[in-house]
Every structure is written in C-alpha cells, then in structure tokens.
Amino acid sequence: MTSIIGPASFNFFGIFPAVILSFILPVIGIGLFAYIMARRIAPLVRANPDNRFDQIGKRVKNLILVWLGQIRQPRYMLAGVLHIVIFAGFLILSIRSMSLVVVGFSDGFLLPGFGGPLGDIYNFFKDYAATFVLIACIIAAVRRGIFKPERYAVPEKYGKDHTAEAVFVLGIISTLMISESLFEASELAYEFAHTGNEHFLAPLSLVWIFKGLLSSASPNILQGLHIFTYFVHDLAFFFFLCFLPMGKHFHVITSIFNVFFMRVQKGNIKPVMHGVSDDKLDDLESFGVKKLEDFTWKHMLDFYSCADCGRCSDQCPANAVGRPLSPRFITIKARDLIFKNYPLSGEIYKSSLLVEDIYTEDEIWSCTTCGACEEECPLGIEYIDKMVDLRRGMVDEGMVPQSLQKPLKALEKRGNPYGKMEKKRADWAKEKEFKANYQIKDLAKDEADTLYFVDSITSYDDEMQEIARRTSIILEKAGVDFGILGKLEKDSGNEVIRFGEEMLYQDLKDQNTEAIMETGVKQIVTADPHAYNALKNDYSDLPPVKHISQVVAQKITTGELDLKPCQDPEKVYVYHDPCYLGRHNGIYEDPRKALDAIDGLTRVELEKSRDRSFCCGGGGLMLFYEPEEETRMGVLRVNMAAEAGANVIVTACPFCLVNIQDAIKVAGKEGEMEALDFTELIEQHLE
C-alpha cells in the first residue's frame, strides 16, 4: 500500500465500512441542529415587530467593521486580540471543516478550485490558522481558568459561575484544531514514508510539528490515527454545532445577524410599537415590555447573541457605584428565561411579569441611559431601548417610585419637573445686572432667526440660570439674532420618554413643536445636551438644532468670536464629555476645540473620555430618583479627574455640572477641585 486509506474507503475491523459513520454523523448532526434552531427561533416569531431592514448601507458597513473587522475587540486588548485570532481562524477553517465532512464520503475531496495554487495558498494559511487558534485557546483557557479576570465573575445573586462552560468550549475548539492537524499530518507522514514525496508545509505550524513527530511512526499507527482523528474531528464538529445554541457560544452563529441588525441611529428611542404611529398609540392594549414576548425579535436575538464577555457591565456606571444593575445580567437573565420557557422539547411556558420574575424595579430604574454599554458591545447588543420598553411597561402598570411620581405629575401640570409656575420660566433673564445690559427677545412677541431652547433645569435652578445668561451673552457676542419661548417652552422631555412616560412625552413634544413652529425660526440652539438630544433625535421636522459648543467652535473658526488668554493659566483643566453630547451625538471635538482656543489653557484628558466617558449620575428625572448605591457616579468621576491631574472639570451640560459640583463636596475635594460649565469658561474669556 503506497497511500493511506481515507475514511470513505476504510473498513473498521476489515468489514464495517467507515463511510456509513461518515454519513450518519452529519445526518444526525445537521438534523439535530435544524431541530434545535427551529425551537430557538420560536420565541423570535412570537416577539414584537422591529424595523431592521432599513439603512442597508449602514448595516453593511457595520457588518464589515464590527463583525468582519472586529473593530470593537481591541478596546480590551488581550481578550480582543485573542478573539480576533480565534474569529479569523474560524472564518478560514470553516471552509476546511466543511470540506472535511465531504472527505468522509469521497477520499481526497477538494472544493472546486482548490486543486491548484489556490489550494496550496489556502492550506498554508489554514495550517497557521489552526496553530494560532490553538495557541489563542490555550492562552484564553489559562486566562479564564487560572487568572480569572474580575469582569467574568458572577455575583451570587445572578447565579452560577460561567467559567466551566467557557473552558469546555475552548477544549472543543482545541480538539478540532488538533484532530484536523493530526488527520492531515498522519496522511503526509504515511505518504512520505512510502513514496518519499515531501509536501511543503507551513513551518512551525501544527501540521508541520505533528508530521515531524510522526515521521518514525509505523504505517499501522498512522492509518489508525488518520481514521481516528477524522472521526474525532467529525464528531467534535457536529457536537460543537449543536452545542452552540445552548449558551453563550450561540454568538458564533447569531453574531453576523445581530451586527447586521444592530442600532444604526444614535440618541433615539424606539417607538412604542413598530408600525404604530404616534397618533394611534391610544389604541394599543398594553404599553412597553411586561412579558418576555413583548420584546422585539431583535431584542430577543440580542439575548441569544451575548457572549458573556462582561464589557458592558465593566463600563456601566450604575454597576460601578453598586446600583442593582449589571447590563450583562439583564441579557443573561432573559436568555435563561427564554431557555426555560422555550425548552428544546415539550410545552412552551407562559411568561409572567418580568419585573417581578427576573428583574427588579430598582434594577430597571437604575439605568441613566448613558449608553456606555452599547458603545462597548462587540456584538451590537442594545440596552437603552430595552430599559425604556421595560419602564413603559412599569409606568403602564403604575409601578413608579414615589420619588419619580412627583416630578412626573409636575411635568404634566406645569411642564417642568419642579412644579414651578410657567410664567416664571424666563425669570433667569430678570437678574438685575444681566437685565441692565441684555434684553432677551420673547419669540411669542418678537422675531429672530434663532431660538435659544433653555429647558427646565437652566430655567428654574438658581445656580444653573447662570448658564442661560452666559449662553445669551455668548450668542449676542457671536452676532446671533436669537430669542426664547418664555412661558411657552415646556420641558424637552428627553428623560420623560426615557423613563417610560410616553404619553406625557408626546404631550410635551407636541406643545414644544407647536410653539417652535409658530416662531418661524431657522435654527435652534441649546446649552443643554439633553434638550439637544431630544429636539434633534426624538422630535421630528424641527429646524436644525445646535449645541452651544458647536456654535462657539464654528464662530471661533470664522473669526466671529475671539477669546482672551487664559485667566487662570496655573490651573489644569479637564473636559468631561456629557453622554448626551458625546456618545449619543458624537460631539467630542467642538468643545475641546473651543477650550484649546483659549491661549495658555492647560488641558489634560481623562482616561475615560470621548466614547468611553463615565456618566456623572444622569440628568432630568434621574436627579429625582433615589437609587440604592454605595457611592455616587459623580464622586468616581471627580476622583478620575483628580487622578488625571486636573483641578478644574469643565463640562457642557447643566446636569453634569449639578452632579459634579455635588460630588466635589461629597468627595471632600472642595477647594482642591472645581466644576465649570463650558459657557461660563467661554464667557469669561470673551474679548
């Protein structure tokens, strides 16, 4: 015999054809897999609709960058690189694995086109792919099994540790790599022993090493090994395929879909029900997510896709301060429930009220909607819309904490969460010194091209009114012809919609929209990123909206605004990115550009900045909510700024300012640190 017998021609004990096994394994494997997938798809079919077939261009881009390009992975360097190696290896080896299945019926089968140089090139890469995947698996297993990075820990209240599953799967992958390489090495070693034919092999690859090790093995051993490793590979391959949908490795299958269907627009909130317009909302039986099947199919797919990597919770400010929320477990608990309610065989169970069954009310109210989790997730899993949908359900059931009921009622009655009188909304402009120098137009009576949308906190909070005055001075200096809505302005409702009070938000939106359209302004400016976000992303058909930092940056570029040299050059400034300016709207550079236009101003960067900015504690209604927590987000943030060597924290959001000012006091850093609003710093430096 000059060549080894392949699995298609081999007979066990000389009589039992191996090809039967080669046939049975895929039939059982694929059949079982199809059955499992059908059961897994069942809850998606029963789920609520979701519109994810729009903006195909952006979706393809996400597929290329986030899925194929894995661009979010290196944000966690070691784990990210290991994942990229395994992911790339899987892509390369999937071709080999599939053709190996056919080799079971047809010895020496090659995919069309793989007979020539293409096949040689492919083999070269796939040999290294298998090698690197094995190395990555070993490092990953050591990391998970021995070093145990903290973010994988499962707190007791969330169930059992997931390390065993992770290491088990790394073991299966390693088995696939080793068996595939041994299968090939045994054949090549056999051939070399009998014919002296030497194939070029990628040096130091697994096949290369195994072939070297097998060079003196007997033909019988090589033949046995060849057949044995083939079936080990075949079995491991189909076992793995059917094991994937059982847990966190489902992402191997679902990730491509999940990334394609992921959020493509930022800063917005999903409609109460896709396909139901705002004016038909009254006809809906129920609002929001109360039971499992109230989630949309994409949100269910999110649950399936979570790889349990823990990055969301590692970035979550609520989790960091010990609030009862960890986004990772929002997903894992829902996935466990799907697996329980939709078992692989037998009856499908009914879901009970989720906030009583798997979630708690405080857990759902703990989210500030800062978006750090979504920004991080390598699989494009969403949280904000789920939180909002769960809150919509709670509001509909009357499950709203007393601390939030008061401001919500005040918003309903007075259009602001403080319950202050409408006619006092423009009182900030009546401050003596300011009034002596500046007249603010009321667009109910006067005309202007620009509306300055002040929003509630800046209108009514004694301290924050300063932002309104400084913003007005900046606009005036920059030559912007502007006015305000005065008592016609209502709260923008950014947090009203995000806290699930959809109909109240709709009312506020309608009142504001009508008042704004009545003025005929050509643009809207605001200094409140929450108002900016609501007007820009939640409202529709308004004139373009700008944040004051954008106006300032632009006017500096055109030379219409000039800034003096820094008045406190010995201070060290740091810019804190407000979530609703940065992460939700991508405005990172304009405020920095404006700060850097002040000559002699020393500015440092926080380690967590731009799209990794750490929420200061949340705005709008979040100021009223009384969470269970060990410390305040603001305190952690102030400490981060101190570590960065800064003594002035500049932010561009009234809520950030309130939270950070409070946090400086709580952290005992009064006198050492101060917080400034962007408008204050700029106004002080106006020529």
Partner: protein
C-alpha cells in the same frame, strides 16, 4: 367588598406658589393647578388593594363642581371601578357638616361595606369622615395606617402619639379616614387617564339625593370663614430673604451668633 372612597379636588401644594387674593379672604386661585388631595390617593390605593385581595368594587365619590370630575377620572385610572359626582349649585359654600350630609344621602342610596376618606384635605379640618360616620351611625376609625381584612370584619391599625401602634377590630360597615404612608399609591399616567376619559360618571344633584337645599351650601353652613391671612410675624420670628446661598449664609451666621454652631 363594596368600598366607597370620598375624594376631593384641591390646589396642588407641590406645584403652586400660594398667594392671597386681593380681597384677602382666600387664595389667589387664578394660576393654581389642582389635583387629588394627597391623602385620598392613599385611601383609593388601599381600597384597590383590598378589592384585589377579596374581590368587590371600588367607587370614588366627590362633592364639587364640573371640574371635580377630573379627580374622579384620575382615581378611576388608578383602578377604581366607578365614580359618582355630587354636583349642584346649592352645594356651593357647604361647610364640613354640609359635605358630610350630602355624602350621607348618596351612601344611603347604595350598599357599601366600607367607606374611606383621606385623613384630611387642603383645609386641614379633618372633619368630614367623622361626621359622615356619625350621621350614618357607623363605627369610625381615624388616621388609619394599616388595614387587614378577614371574614365580615376588619382590623385597622392607627399610629399613636410617640410612634406606638394600636390595632382595632371594627365591625362593617364602617368609615375610616386614611393616613398617608399606609401604602405606596401607584402611578397614574396620561395614558391611564385617557383610557377612562369616556367612562360615564353619573352626576347627582340635590333633587336626586333628596336633600333640602336649605340644609347645605352657604345657606346651610353653620361655620363660616370670616378671615384668611398670613399671620403677622411675632416676636423672635424673622424671614430670611435672598438667594438660597445667601439665606444659608445668613442662617449660619445667626446660628453661630447664638452659639448654635
């Protein structure tokens, strides 16, 4: 269990800044916003929870003008099954006894096992519940902060001066006035109110109730408000004025000066 809860529409203390009117006999009511009397919300929530447990119906009732219908709808959005508005020009200006008399007439038309009211309302008199019980010859418990329902009777808890708690068995039918803190009233959203916007609410006047108009309203009132004012500042009282920061600073100074700090 058939439960009737008496509610009242009052100026909202959280969302108003109160000023006297020019005549000096009432609040300036032009810019006020109104809502359900806070105590009544707790009473309605408690009634709903009892009915959820043992079955029955919750009816909310108020004596007031057309606009009072709004508070009935809000309580129905919370979960009350039906509402009754007692409205008649003749009722205007009723004192506490007058209101209790009007309510009594409606109570006698139905068959309620339990009647609840808030412990007090905006005027702080806290009298209607007790008077209604007396007129009906029902037992009465005031300032109730706990209710346990058993067969045919209930046990009610009351907080006693000094933080002590007492529990009393009380025979049905009875009247209870409810203290805040007995529960956590559920949230009523705009959607909830819209859902009950079209539910029919019967309106009963003096004729429907068989009430002699001379016994109610301003005419029948045996107590009359003769004045309404902000008390003169007495000796030792002082109002600190200015912005929040200034007030705090002045307060600290004063505390320091008097040795309080």
């Amino acid at each position: 269990m058939e439960i009737l809860v008496c509610v009242k529409r009052v100026p909202d203390t959280a969302e108003n800044e109160f000023e006297l009117n020019s005549a000096g006999n009432d609040l300036d009511r032009d810019d006020l916003v109104y809502s359900v009397n806070e105590w009544d919300n707790y009473a309605v929530e408690e009634a709903i929870q009892i009915v959820d447990k043992v079955g029955g119906n919750v009816t909310v009732i108020t004596v007031g003008d057309d606009e009072s219908e709004e508070v009935l709808r809000r309580e129905m959005a919370m979960g009350a099954n039906s509402g009754i508005l007692l409205c008649d020009d003749a009722f205007e200006g009723s004192d506490g006894k007058g209101i209790a008399g009007i309510l009594k007439a409606e109570v006698e038309k139905g068959s309620y096992d339990l009647i609840m009211s808030g412990a007090q309302a905006d005027e702080g008199a806290g009298q209607v519940g007790g008077m209604l019980a007396a007129m009906l010859d029902y037992p009465y418990a005031s300032l109730v902060n706990k209710i346990e329902v058993q067969d045919g009777k209930i046990t009610v808890g009351r907080e006693i001066e000094g933080g002590n708690q007492e529990m009393n068995e009380i025979q049905l039918p009875c009247v209870l006035s409810i203290q805040t803190g007995i529960n956590e009233p559920r949230y009523v959203g705009i959607r909830g109110i819209r859902k009950v916007a079209k539910v029919d609410i019967p309106v009963n006047g003096a004729d429907d109730l068989g009430i002699d108009t001379a016994s109610v309203g301003a005419a029948g009132a045996k107590t009359k408000r003769v004045d309404y004012f902000v008390p003169d500042m007495g000796d030792g009282a002082e109002m600190l004025e200015g912005s929040t920061d200034e007030i705090i600073e002045k307060l600290i100074e004063k505390l320091k000066a008097k040795g309080g700090l």
